[in-house]
């Protein structure tokens, strides 16, 4: 079993925790002893932070709505389809017709890149996330 030191994904306290990895699966979580916030302690969400990872309802393939139904597709098809749809709206509205929701659950790097995508590629400042909710 490998222990990987990482940061909890639930609340803004930001506890340091170890994920326990065995045969490619995350099988447990435990607190970091010396982390300044967690100090050997996690709340119930931290202790169980790994449990949703292998839930059977995880999305594992891109989906495209075809005849009203979400249907499995390949990555290239889904990305090309999405790029075309956005390109049409960008050209029609000069960007003002696109809205982007970033995420308080994603990493800094991902949030940086999505606002860069919104501003530099979609040409809009319509980018926000759930900070107010």
């Amino acid at each position: 079993m490998r222990n990987i030191l990482t940061t909890c994904v639930y609340c803004g306290c930001g506890c340091g925790l170890y994920l326990h990895e065995e045969n490619g699966r995350v099988v447990g979580a435990s607190p970091s002893k010396n982390h300044p916030v967690s100090r050997s302690n996690l709340c119930v969400k931290g202790w169980h932070a790994h449990e949703f990872i292998h839930d059977s309802s995880r999305l594992t393939q891109p989906l495209i709505r075809k005849n009203g139904v979400l249907t499995s597709s390949g990555w290239d098809e889904a990305l090309t389809y999405t790029a075309k749809a956005f390109r049409k709206i960008i050209d029609k509205t000069e960007g003002t017709g696109i809205g982007v929701l970033a995420s308080a659950k994603c990493t800094n790097e991902e949030n940086y890149l999505i606002q860069k995508l919104a501003r530099a590629v979609f040409k809009t400042n319509n980018v926000d996330h759930c900070a107010r909710l």
Binding site: I53, L70, L79, G99, K105, C106
Partner: protein
């Protein structure tokens, strides 16, 4: 937060307002309890008798939405008792006379009537807070989710500045940030008016710097906020949306409007780890990797930038949002060739002064707290040491603003929404966790036993809860946590989605919706 979490345990007085800290920020609550154990005093401002309120020296159980009169009343007591920090006010603030004149005009009887709190309690809280050498204020969405949220925060700032309770260790004003990386998402410019590091999109100098770095021309005016995008309904200027790891179809207020807005989109793409309520109505859904399947950083509520490390390969064909964004950008003719998340952070450091010293090799083991201005800078445990970001702290007098939807004969209850310990936000992750579903399987409506008696409702009975915008069926729990005339429930559960009921009204400046007050009624179900 202007402080670090651990500083709270050394404070002499802790004032907590609008935060169910024990349930939503357990580690902060732990510091508060440690402080109380070593002799600190605790003041809790909350319409509900939260678990923290039970341990308070003074619990000010205000009417929801009367924070400003309460805080003004406390400041008036501080003036009357001569407890203001005159030296701090003189050297570090401006516009004090406007605040003082407003406070001297206050009618304390009116304040008691508006807040429902006795003058004695207001006075005790004010004296406790002002007399200590190190007082800290922790606040959360109970302060901000009102139509007067900005003014509520200003009133807290006025209180802290009037007593000089900022600038020192163990002393400050601490907004508790909710989600694991809501602080970081704001820092990274996932906001309509600012680039990373809170640099205005309207500032030509800033914009030119980003235009040079990104080699494109950039839009000049601020964009729309989330509820402006999701509440526009049929007039929606937004035709296409890209949603990454969010679930507005459950989290946003006035869901009827949200549904209409999404139905009117020409195109919706969603990246998520599960088929959320929002992903279910999308045209394209990208399967995203979880936090255990990627590298990156989160920034916690005390501004600590920390590493997220990969434990396993992405499940199935899922990809990290980083990979999804860069692949989509390339398809749109703007390649983003980053070899790793660390390389993205190097670009962030280059363009974001408060993150200029944040590099991956410096983040082990416990991260760095921004502002961190260069590679030599050790980070900043508490803010405003010698001056405020704008120079002098400015007093802005604020006055009471009644909630957007008053109660009346038809809708006599004040409905407050919030969170529970065992579930998280819209439940996308927590409801896939067996232990949490065992402990908290369904939404419960908290009602005072006296009200339950009036309506002849028993514990665990299913009732209809309605507002002017919608109605849901929800199970009742009788508790004195809420005052008579108030109701409380959580928004985690799609099958009892309380945001069908909440109001669309929002603070005009912060655009924060008023999720803490709406007029509601309950009815017994036909049996």
């Amino acid at each position: 937060m202007t402080n670090s979490i651990n500083e709270i345990e050394h404070s002499q007085v802790i004032l907590v307002s609008g935060s169910n800290t024990v349930k939503t920020h357990p580690q902060v609550a732990r510091r508060i309890f440690d402080a109380v154990d070593s002799g600190a005093s605790l003041i809790v401002i909350d319409p509900r008798r939260s678990p923290l309120a039970r341990h308070a020296d003074v619990h000010l159980s205000i009417r929801s939405g009367s924070d400003i009169p309460l805080l003004n009343g406390m400041m008036r007591v501080i003036l009357d008792e001569n407890l203001a920090d005159d030296a701090f006010v003189e050297m570090r603030t401006e516009n004090y006379h406007a605040l003082r004149d407003m406070l001297y005009r206050l009618d304390m009887d009116e304040i008691v009537a508006l807040t429902g709190v006795s003058l004695d309690k207001i006075s005790r809280a004010a004296k406790l807070y002002a007399r200590a050498q190190n007082s800290v204020v922790c606040y959360c969405l109970g302060i901000t989710q009102h139509i007067c949220g900005t003014d509520n925060v200003q009133a807290i700032a006025n209180l802290a500045m009037l007593t000089g309770n900022v600038e020192k260790e163990n002393t400050g004003v601490d907004p508790l940030r909710g989600q694991n990386n809501v602080q970081g998402a704001c820092d990274m410019g996932a906001l309509p008016g600012v680039f990373p590091g809170y640099q205005s999109v309207a500032d030509p100098e800033v914009r030119h710097r980003f235009e040079r770095a990104w080699q494109v021309s950039l839009p000049k005016t601020a964009g729309l906020t989330v509820t402006e995008m999701t509440h526009a309904a049929s007039d929606n200027p937004i035709k296409g949306m890209f949603v990454m790891g969010e679930n507005p179809m459950l989290s946003d207020p006035a869901l009827g409007l949200v549904r209409e807005s999404f139905a009117n989109l020409e195109f919706l793409a969603v990246a998520d780890i599960f088929l959320s309520e929002t992903a279910a109505v999308a045209d394209v859904v990208f399967p995203a990797a979880t936090f255990a399947e990627k590298e990156g950083t989160f920034t916690n509520t005390e501004r600590r930038v920390q590493l997220v490390r990969q434990a396993i390969a992405p499940v199935g064909e899922s990809r990290s949002d980083l990979d999804i964004i860069t692949a989509l950008s390339e398809k749109l003719g703007y390649p983003m060739p980053y070899a790793s998340a660390a390389e993205v952070m190097e670009e962030i450091a280059l363009l974001t002064p408060i993150y200029a010293g944040i590099f991956y090799d410096r983040l082990a083991p416990w991260g760095l707290q921004w502002p961190c201005f260069d590679r030599e800078h050790g980070g900043t445990p508490f803010l405003h040491k010698y001056n405020f970001a704008r120079g002098k702290g400015r007093f802005v007098p604020t006055s009471h603003k009644p909630p957007s939807e008053p109660t009346d004969a038809e809708y006599p209850f004040v409905l407050i929404t919030g969170r529970s310990y065992h579930q998280y936000h819209t439940g996308t992750m927590s409801r896939k966790t067996p232990v949490f579903n065992r402990e908290c399987p369904e939404g419960l409506l908290e009602i005072h036993p006296l009200d339950a008696k009036t309506y002849n409702i028993r514990a665990r009975e299913m009732v209809r809860l309605s507002s002017r915008r919608g109605s849901i069926k929800v199970k009742v729990t009788l508790t004195k946590t809420v005052n008579p005339g108030s109701l409380f429930t959580t928004f985690h559960f799609a099958e009892a989605a309380v945001n069908e009921l909440t109001v669309a009204a929002r603070d005009p400046q912060a655009k924060c919706p008023e999720l803490k007050v709406c007029a509601a009624k309950i009815e017994k179900l036909e049996t």
